[in-house]
């Protein structure tokens, strides 16, 4: 495959300049890999525009003036080489492959270079930029790196994948669909946490319609192309890398929770205001001002209250810890003329800062490139990954058992440990609160562990039939099996709280596999040194299989842990009175789909000035039921003007590169097709065709279906009509961009795009004649537009001697608009509204103003501007003026400074024009008995809550009900100091090729008006998620 690519891309080139001549240098350029001649390689005299290109035999000849000049040999996908001419007139060079993807983008050490001929919008990040990141999932390290790529982590649990959105959300039903990841030419099933980031040579993000030419309907949300490292012939080396670090929790921002003294006093204040039973906490119930306080109970109560006053723990010491990260890696690489290898083994162990959470991963990779015979190449890329993830017992749950809720929710005066030092767990009440102790006990009693095995492999075979015509076959397999165990020890307090009072043991298994095979024929030719054509036809077939099962056991044997062995029968009484059937405690499901694709690419280049290309693709898929819509057609076309190569540009030396690019394409989005799930324990097995098929259900007591008392036969009712007309959404993508380089020192890349989604799935009412008159169905009836601008600046800010400072800044603006919703103008979806003329994800809620000075009740602003005072929200207008949870502005900037062996690099990322619901804030500023009794409150209430008539305060009084309103929609903009690395490469020591030591900080600081733990999340609402940790690591790299 590599060779084919090489030939494919190589054919595209060819300049010829005819300048005045003094001296001539000539030679032959061959491939390092297999010694074959490389046609079309650019050969340019450094610092000039004088250059040529190699012919079909790899030969070149260049005439020039002057002495001591340097030649630059460069080509897309090959490592650029500079050679001093000196007195030589014949210079032969070999060029090594740099990146082997069809994307044709140049990769350099610092990152952000763009291909010379790619007409589309793409950015490549060198693997060196991503290496040594102490985060398991590579996608997280993209944050702030690439313009237009929004990366948000939804959980700080080690090993979790981030949510990546490229150029916004282009679908309502498919809003959460992730980009397609392609590793070594093979699309992969899911996230990237299984890939060792040090194995990566480059990562390229394809953002526009061109991506779809090669990846089809799965590429509509963008494509991230990953190429792994290869061996090099003649250079055998062994690398050992080790890393050690710690993770710590971020601190609450802009929020000050009440301490023991404040909480007790606040309880007393509110209690004395609202009456004897209003507040159940000790601050009021044990207060001398409480109506039931009497000389008889005074001594006991005073003593009890004094005990509470003494409890002033910092619960983060109880619930959280410093998590350790250890990574060790061994890499061997090298090869001969005919055979190159890259073998790596990595062990990565990371503890989260929440007790019980960790991630352990072992990855092995073997990449082999073998010349089987003349012109017949084999390329193998393979990985085996084993992961063991331990989750905190209640990660993500809305429960006091979730440490990220307990930590702010628990009253500050809890006694966590008894006098003898043991945990004080058990039934919790207002006067004996045990939230923290119960949380710890649950964690200790529970095992929540996921084990995964993943195998990924790609085998490429290619053969050059005649010069310029190659046939190639690429076969890929990606399969994984995950097992999730949730087990509560029967011999614990938590175990006694489970159904049947003796623990629970649940195991869920999910496995998925994908096989894909691509066969292609490609042709390349240069005519008259100026006309280059390049084309290919491809046939691809892909199949995905899923399978899952799960079982649950109760009534476990108290002598054993983490097993179902010895579990007793379930008592008959558990069936309930009159029951005649036994429920099933195990389940399973399977599903599959296939895609068969034909596609073709063609490109024409004239004199390295003008490039035009067109791609067409036909995908057929079992994912669509309607026979007429099963076949999906995709096309894209691009134009590029390489203005720098025009004659009129040769007389200046300011602009060193100037290109204009234009692409348009119509890309279907397979992610927009709604799927459903079979719930299988703690996993979901996808159900691909369910939403398209008519489905039926027997009514149960609660689902509202009509029952038929006129017969003993249960009435089967259709519950969904299915959507037999379903067709795929299509995104019409337009991109125009330019690349400018000045003085070979500053480069500017700018892209402007418009993506219009047509046949958008929107919720529509069906005609009664379908039998589903009152039912809504997602129908292809709407339209949505994303428009945006992306800007990337790269520059060598300072360059003198060995001292080099480089800086990069990227910024992207994306605006989303819902243009058309078919029958309707708007509909509410969860906490936001889907409305014509507004962006996707617009929050929809009541406009809270302040507390009414007279009554303490909430004051809201109506749509007509009038203020309304009410303790309920009935009759209050909802508005959509509070922004969206998808940021309009995203970006990042980085600086790299190096001097001899020392380098210092840093990265900041930011997002703004974004708002999110803050559920935590709603709870801690609720300020009325229901919440005061259950949740510790913010000190904001002490100064800004209505307490008596006449108070001009923001928060409604304890007598009022705090609703979920615009108070809780909060600015979630932030700037994060992602990274700071200080590295030192030691001077050459005998026996070592290189020794490098470094220290790195991750997520060092965050600046944000957000109130809470972490403004960053991957959805619209903040609900006690695991925040992103701060990390500090130290590393040593040895190369032999």
């Amino acid at each position: 495959m590599r060779k084919i690519l090489l030939l494919t891309v190589v054919m595209l080139s060819g300049y010829s300049y005819g300048l005045a001549q003094d001296r001539t240098v000539s030679g032959r350029v061959t491939s390092t890999e297999d010694g074959t001649p490389l046609p079309g390689v650019n050969v340019v005299l450094k610092g000039t525009t004088n250059g040529t290109a190699t012919d079909a035999d790899g030969r070149y000849s260049l005439t020039y003036q002057g002495q001591g000049e340097t030649l630059i040999f460069s080509f897309i996908g090959l490592q650029t080489q500079e050679v001093l001419i000196g007195d030589r007139s014949v210079i032969d060079v070999t060029l090594a492959l740099d990146v082997t993807q069809l994307t044709e983008v140049v990769v350099t050490e610092t990152g952000y270079t763009r291909d010379k001929r790619y007409t589309g919008a793409a950015t490549t990040i060198s693997g060196n930029v991503l290496a040594r990141t102490p985060v398991a999932s590579l996608d997280q390290s993209l944050q702030g790196r690439v313009a237009g790529v929004l990366v948000n982590s939804g959980s700080g649990q080690p090993g979790s994948n981030a949510t990546v959105r490229i150029r916004g959300v282009s679908s309502i039903t498919g809003a959460g669909v992730q980009p397609l990841y392609v590793v070594d030419g093979v699309p992969v099933l899911g996230g990237l946490s299984g890939i060792n980031s040090n194995d990566i040579l480059s990562q390229t993000i394809l953002k526009d319609a061109q991506a779809a030419a090669l990846y089809g309907a799965r590429g509509a949300n963008g494509v991230i192309v990953i190429t792994t490292r290869k061996g090099k012939s003649g250079v055998n080396s062994i690398d050992f890398r080790t890393q050690y670090g710690i993770s710590v929790e971020p601190k609450f921002m802009n929020i000050d929770m009440m301490n023991t003294e404040q909480a007790l006093a606040y309880e007393e204040t509110v209690g004395s205001m609202l009456g004897a039973t209003s507040i159940s906490g000790p601050g009021w119930q044990l207060s001398p001002n409480h109506p039931s306080y009497s000389p008889a109970n005074a001594a006991t109560r005073d003593a009890q209250l004094a005990d509470f006053r003494d409890n002033t723990r910092d619960y983060s010491d109880d619930l959280l810890r410093k998590g350790r990260t250890i990574s060790n890696e061994l890499v061997a690489r090298g090869g001969t003329e005919t055979s190159q290898y890259y073998v790596s083994f990595n062990a990565f162990n990371q503890e989260g800062f929440a007790a019980g959470s960790d991630f352990n991963r072992y990855t092995g990779r073997v990449n082999v490139d073998q010349r089987l015979a003349d012109k017949f190449m084999m390329n193998v890329s393979s990985t085996v990954v084993n992961t063991v993830t331990n989750y905190n017992a209640n990660e993500g749950l809305n429960s006091t058992l979730n440490p990220f809720q307990a930590i702010w929710r628990a009253k500050p005066y809890e006694q966590v440990y008894k006098g003898d030092g043991t945990l004080d767990f058990g039934a919790s009440s207002a006067l004996a609160p045990k939230v923290i102790a119960n949380n710890i006990e649950r964690q200790q009693a529970t095992t929540y562990r996921e084990k995964g095995i993943r195998v990924f492999g790609a085998l490429g075979l290619s053969y050059e039939i005649i010069s310029g015509l190659s046939v190639k076959n690429n076969f890929g397999v990606d399969m994984y099996t995950n097992e999730l165990m949730y087990s509560v020890d029967p011999n614990t307090y938590s175990g006694s709280l489970q159904t049947h009072n003796s623990g629970i043991h649940q195991e869920s298994m999910f496995s998925s596999s994908q096989i894909v095979n691509t066969t292609s024929l490609s042709y390349n030719k240069i005519f008259n040194d100026k006309h280059e054509i390049d084309g290919g036809v491809y046939f691809e077939a892909l199949k995905v299989n899923n399978n899952g099962f799960a079982y649950t056991l109760y009534n476990l044997d108290k002598r054993l842990e983490e097993t179902g062995q010895g579990a007793s029968e379930l008592p008959i009484s558990s069936l309930g009175a009159g029951a005649t059937t036994y429920p099933q405690n195990s389940t399973g499901a399977k599903s599959q789909y296939g895609i068969v694709s034909y596609f073709a690419t063609a490109k024409y280049n004239y004199d390295n000035k003008y490039t035009a290309n067109v791609n067409v693709r036909q995908d057929g898929t079992s994912r669509i039921l309607n026979e007429d819509n099963k076949e999906i057609f995709t096309w894209s076309a691009g134009l590029m003007w390489n203005a720098i190569n025009e004659g009129f540009m040769s007389s200046q030396d300011i602009v060193s590169d100037l290109k204009l690019r234009l692409t348009y394409g119509e890309v279907p989005n397979i992610g927009s097709i709604a799927t459903s799930n079979y719930a299988v324990g703690r996993y979901n097995v996808p159900n691909y065709l369910g939403p398209q098929l008519p489905s039926y259900s027997f009514p149960t007591s609660s689902n509202g279906l009509p029952r038929f008392p006129g017969s003993s036969i249960s009435p089967l009712s259709p519950t969904s009509p299915g959507n037999p007309n379903l067709k795929i959404e299509t995104v019409k993508k337009f991109n125009v961009g330019f690349d400018v380089s000045l003085w070979n020192r500053l480069s500017v890349i700018m892209d402007v795009y418009q993506n219009v989604t047509v046949d958008l799935f929107v919720s529509q009412r069906l005609s009664a004649t379908t039998g589903f008159g009152a039912t809504n169905l997602n129908i292809n009836a709407g339209q949505m537009t994303n428009k945006g601008v992306e800007l990337t600046l790269n520059g060598d800010v300072y360059k003198k001697g060995d001292f080099l400072v480089q800086a990069n800044w990227n910024h992207a603006i994306n605006t989303n608009n819902i243009d058309d919703l078919g029958q309707v103008d708007e509909y509410v979806s969860g906490t936001f509204i889907i409305k014509e003329g507004m962006p996707y994800g617009s929050h929809y809620t009541y406009d809270y103003v302040k507390a009414d000075p007279a009554t303490g009740y909430p004051t809201y602003r109506q749509n007509n501007g009038e203020l309304i005072v009410t303790n309920t929200v009935a009759g209050v207008d909802q508005k959509a003026t509070f922004g969206t949870f998808l940021p309009k502005h995203t970006g990042g900037f980085s600086v790299n400074a190096s001097w001899k062996g020392i380098s210092l690099s840093t990265l900041f990322s930011y997002q703004f024009d974004v708002t999110r619901y803050n559920n935590t804030y709603n709870w801690i500023t609720a300020g009325y008995p229901g919440y005061i009794n259950a949740v510790n409150q913010s000190t904001e209430l002490l100064t800004n809550q209505w307490m008596q008539p006449g108070d001009e305060k923001y928060f409604s009084g304890p007598n009022a009900t705090r609703q979920f309103t615009s108070q809780d929609v909060m600015d979630a903009k932030f700037m994060r100091w992602r990274e700071l690395t200080l590295a030192y490469t030691l001077p050459k020591i005998k026996g070592f090729k290189e020794i490098r030591v470094y220290a790195r900080g991750q997520n060092l600081k965050i600046w944000s008006p957000w109130k809470g733990l972490d403004p960053e999340d991957n959805n619209n609402i903040s609900l006690h998620e695991y925040p992103n940790p701060k990390m500090f690591v130290f590393g040593l790299d040895l190369s032999f």
Binding site: Y463, G594, S622, G722
Partner: protein, 485 residues
């Protein structure tokens, strides 16, 4: 060598392109949906029960009471000015929620069509399935005709062969394609065809009156003939119903038992209600918190209707009650304290706050209606003696000491029959349709009218045909709105 490699790669290609030919046809193997859901005759029967479960006469009963002259506001709760005073349009939410037939009736049609789409090919897995298959098909055809007739009554104008009925759905609209309304002549022909196709395989007995039988089919045919003014047919089908063993007219003695479910006299088809369903009686008054706190009375009988019954009329006591508790509370807030509709309350067990309050079965078709249909058909065919006989038979079985009358003109016969329909079939979902059918106005007396605007709906006013609701207009591009809206 070249050839070998080329051949090798070509072979790989061939292998793949053939082995993946089924990649486009993967099915959802683990889901009970689509055709699999109705695989066996037993499955099809459950689906037919799903159709019956959706049959409901609530909206028809309330509409005919509220839109016509059967009820008046009880002064306790009145938010029905749009409907009671005929101010409705296609966008009215109240109309859509309380008086729409389009969603529920087409739902019945769809359930029936789903049965019909599978019943012939469903697997027979039990002894008797092939006999059952015919019956299920017949019942589904009946349900389809029955629901379509309701749709016509709601949205059709007075019958004329050319007037627009509704779309006749005789297939499952799987593709969710828009459907146009068709002329009444064609629509009625399809209904009649469905019933006649059904009749041969419906049970010709009253063993299970929760499901359709031959008598029900006759009754529906009689109604259809009445509405389309096919008088000979109406007479013939009504006669078939009347002559069905077990469907003799209830007597004065047995008549009250129909209404508290003591007997099932006259009924060929009923709608069983349990406490899990909406209670019929709540159409007119809410269920009570306790014996001393009667629920809100939304509607009470109009003076016009109440005063039309003779004191010796058994219907007066069976349909109404002057309740002493209410009298003591001076409720309802109207000119006749204590007087409420009691037709759908199982008297005397269903007292205020009792578990059976307002809970009775729906009477979908009764022999008395067939007598009235036949009387009208005979009168229209100038058989005044026949009409007179039917009318007198009915009245003799309702009014103690009734003296038979003589019908001397056709107009007199029609007037008497319509009056008797209003009395016998009150609150059974006929009155407003009868006025439309006969081209008569809704004429309330001053004591019953909620307002000056709410006194009279002129004869043949466009509002006699309900508007097609807005959501349907948007979702179905071919459907035509009724004139006037």
């Amino acid at each position: 060598m070249k050839k070998i490699y080329s051949c090798l790669l070509l072979a790989l290609f061939m292998m793949w392109s053939t082995s993946c030919s089924d990649y486009l046809e993967f099915e959802e193997t683990d889901l009970i949906a689509g055709d699999i859901a109705l695989q066996t005759v037993a499955n099809v029967e459950t689906a037919l029960m799903g159709g019956y479960a959706n049959v409901d006469n609530f909206m028809g009963i309330l509409l005919n009471s509220v839109f016509a002259d059967e009820v008046k506001t009880a002064g306790e709760f009145y938010n029905a000015s749009t409907t009671h005073e005929w101010k409705y349009g296609p966008a009215d939410v109240g109309l859509r929620d309380s008086y729409t037939a389009i969603d529920p009736q087409y739902r019945v049609v769809d359930r029936a069509n789903r049965v019909l789409s599978r019943v012939d090919i469903a697997d027979s897995t039990r002894v008797g399935d092939n006999v059952l298959r015919k019956r299920l098909k017949a019942e589904a055809l009946f349900l389809r005709a029955f629901a379509h007739f309701e749709l016509f009554r709601f949205y059709g104008a007075k019958y004329d062969p050319a007037t627009l009925a509704m779309p006749y759905m005789d297939f499952v609209n799987v593709k969710q394609e828009p459907q146009a309304r068709i002329p009444a002549a064609e629509y009625f022909a399809k209904m009649n065809q469905d019933i006649s196709d059904a009749k041969a395989n419906l049970p010709n007995n009253l063993t299970d009156i929760n499901r359709a039988n031959v008598a029900t089919a006759n009754g529906l045919q009689a109604r259809i003939a009445l509405y389309s003014e096919q008088w000979a047919d109406a007479e013939a089908y009504a006669t078939n119903y009347i002559n069905t063993p077990g469907l003799a007219l209830a007597t004065i003695a047995s008549f009250p038992g129909i209404w508290n479910d003591a007997n099932t006299n006259e009924q060929s088809y009923r709608m069983v209600r349990t406490s899990a369903q909406t209670r019929l009686g709540t159409l007119f008054r809410a269920s009570s918190g306790s014996a001393s706190a009667p629920g809100t009375i939304t509607w009470t009988v109009s003076n016009k209707l109440y005063d039309s019954y003779a004191t010796a009329d058994v219907r007066r006591g069976a349909y109404f009650i002057t309740d002493p508790t209410l009298v003591s509370l001076n409720r309802p807030n109207a000119d006749r304290p204590g007087l409420i509709i009691n037709k759908y309350n199982p008297y005397p067990t269903g007292g205020f706050g009792q578990t059976s309050e307002n809970l009775v079965n729906g009477k979908m078709m009764r022999t008395a209606e067939m007598y009235l249909i036949r009387a009208e058909a005979r009168a229209e065919q100038d058989n005044l003696a026949g009409a007179e006989s039917d009318l007198n038979t009915l009245r003799t079985n309702r009014i103690t000491g009734y003296t038979p009358i003589t019908l001397s003109t056709k107009q007199q016969a029609i007037d008497e029959i319509l009056l008797e329909r209003s009395k016998e079939l009150a609150f059974e979902g006929h009155r407003f349709w009868d006025l439309k059918r006969k081209g008569l106005p809704v004429a309330r007396i001053a004591a019953d009218a909620p307002s000056a605007d709410g006194t009279t709906l002129p004869a043949n006013d466009f509002r006699f045909a309900l508007p097609i609701p807005d959501p349907e207009m948007k979702a179905n591009k071919l459907i035509q709105q009724n004139p006037g809206y």
